[in-house]
Symmetry: C2
Subunit: 361 residues, 2 copies
């Protein structure tokens, strides 16, 4: 809504300047093919449903009593799956909340934090929200991170790996270089999409006292509807996140979400199978799109980033939308000729390709 | 954990100073009578369980897809129950998150905000978190708010009504005086416990452009396990909260919580019946405690605030704990001789009274 200047007097002055994040739309259209918010095309493990059912049926006090403020059972399940200790796990209401706490906990420093010029568009929003100074480091012409550029005075570093919206991954070797070059600053690796083929930095947690890895159950675990994200780091960094969390909201994760996420982490086989299916579908989709002339960046995510030399990206997005297919276009420098497309099931991807063929010859 | 000075270099300097909120403990003890966190002794409406069941069984995509970032169905249900428009409703992940957003949205001003010296202990925590200046206004000797004291330069006002942990309510007439005396500042009435007998300021939302009312489903609706809170205010104030929320976390409320809370708001009859039961139990409990010598403040909440002239409060709390009954003691000036006791079922209250009689003669 438009708020008049007269009514604006009630707002905190700094809030008048906020430019909030705009999530991908969630339209309510029949027969819609939604390839715009990188959701998983497959449901979560059947054990998830069973776990929620159990809370509902067997735990009489599940609703009237507060959940465990520490979500200990969830931390244990994550620690076990990640081969870390419980003190190395932080959990929050989706990885967006975890990232917000990370910005507050580590990035309010005298020097600017560094992140790529093309990356998750929530990073500048958090920075403004918490008064964090930023310096954006350009990706190279292949949309790759140049490790040497992160060797300069900074208040911290955050890198999405694979990067969003480009889908391009950074190797563990390169991540280690950045960690070593910045021994006095926290380096955050935001791994929302890591399970679709990139190397996780979680294996480095015990070696580097300046590393924070952020992951989510929303993508590879098909739990976007539930809001559970987490961070992995040495205990002295987790302690900072707990201090921030306990100054903001004592009970961020509800009882159903805790039970459901625990069940997901306990079904590793299902998880790996689904990730593999998405990876295989992605490779097939890339091949089909390249056949009709698209350039596709090398993807390690559950989405691809594509451009067509003979077609204007936003026009393609509009044409797809008219056929009930939604993809994401970012009206930003360097990438406004690209579309970000979520990998669906093989059938969904086929519908996308067939529809694109109507416009592309 | 203890973080060494060397490791502290990673923390944002301001986070090193945070003094987080400490929630009431959630111990896992058999046959425990938990009267320390003001949970409702009764389950929520049966329609709540049915609604979660429906999400689980009928909505195949409930888990893998993001929830509605605006939680529109929930806003509609609240608006209908409160006789307000959807634009006058803000929802969040428990009223603690809503309060945090309120502090950010309105209270970062050049003057200090005002709140009672004895009140919800999260207010100073939020203030420190967001860099809000504060001035605590002493309650009078009857633990009542003196309206005239809130007529001074300020950056906003927040009052819990009924107040916590005192249980004492402020009349709507007095709230209106405060609203009228502060036409250029936001006055927040935090009504976590209002449904147990106090007058809600929600009826004043259309009259006062500086009023924000905050409520929760955790207490009177027995949904503490689910994390849903909300604010009611004119649209220009809700817009500030939306700007803050969308700069922090796009999807704070998961699909189960949305469905469950909607079902609760649609069962007004059950809600009113349960509130009445708690009120009747409270009055009976007060009478019994007064009979054995306790002074009990006049309560409009689902808890009471009591002191005994012949017994040390913390000793009574310890003695109760040894018998498996947990109540809350605040080691703070003016109230360290008091105990805050949640109203349970009649049977639970009887157990409390019988146990107290063991120590009190």
């Amino acid at each position: 809504m438009n708020v008049t200047n007269e009514k604006m007097r009630f707002w905190s002055p700094e809030v008048r300047e906020l430019e909030p994040y705009v999530p991908g739309e969630q339209p309510k259209i029949q027969n819609l093919l939604k390839l715009n918010t990188n959701e998983n095309p497959y449901p979560p493990s059947p054990k998830v449903k069973a776990a929620v059912e159990t809370v509902l049926v067997d735990q009489a006090d599940a609703l009237r009593l507060y959940p465990d403020p520490d979500a200990s059972l969830l931390k244990q399940a994550i620690a076990k799956q990640q081969h870390l200790s419980v003190e190395q796990v932080f959990v929050g209401n989706g990885s967006d909340e975890v990232l917000a706490h990370i910005f507050k906990a580590f990035f309010i420093q005298d020097e600017p934090i560094l992140y790529p010029d093309i990356s998750y568009s929530f990073y500048p929003v958090y920075s403004q929200f918490f008064g964090v100074q930023t310096k954006q480091i350009p990706l190279n012409d292949h949309f790759e991170i140049v490790v040497e550029d992160y060797q300069q005075n900074n208040g911290g570093i955050i890198i999405a790996n694979p990067n969003a919206p480009t889908s391009v991954a950074l190797s563990l070797t390169n991540i280690e270089k950045i960690l070593k070059n910045n021994p006095d600053r926290v380096v955050v690796i935001d791994e929302a999409y890591v399970d679709f083929g990139a190397e996780s930095a979680a294996s480095l947690v015990n070696q580097y006292d300046n590393l924070v890895v952020c992951q989510t159950t929303s993508k590879s675990r098909s739990l976007a509807g539930l809001r559970v994200g987490y961070a992995l780091a040495q205990a002295h960094l987790i302690a900072a996140l707990e201090a921030v969390k306990n100054s903001f909201n004592s009970y961020p994760i509800d009882r159903f979400a805790i039970a459901a996420a625990v069940a997901s982490f306990e079904d590793q086989t299902y998880f790996e199978e689904q990730c593999l299916k998405v990876i295989q579908s992605r490779e097939q989709l890339i091949e089909q799109l390249e056949t009709i002339g698209f350039d596709v960046l090398p993807s390690k995510a559950n989405f691809i980033f594509v451009t067509h030399p003979a077609h204007v990206a936003i026009e393609l997005a509009k044409a797809l939308r008219e056929q009930g297919i939604i993809v994401r276009h970012f009206n930003k420098p360097r990438i406004n000729q690209y579309l970000r497309i979520t990998v669906g099931t093989d059938e969904q991807n086929q519908r996308l390709v067939n529809t694109l063929k109507l416009f592309i010859n």
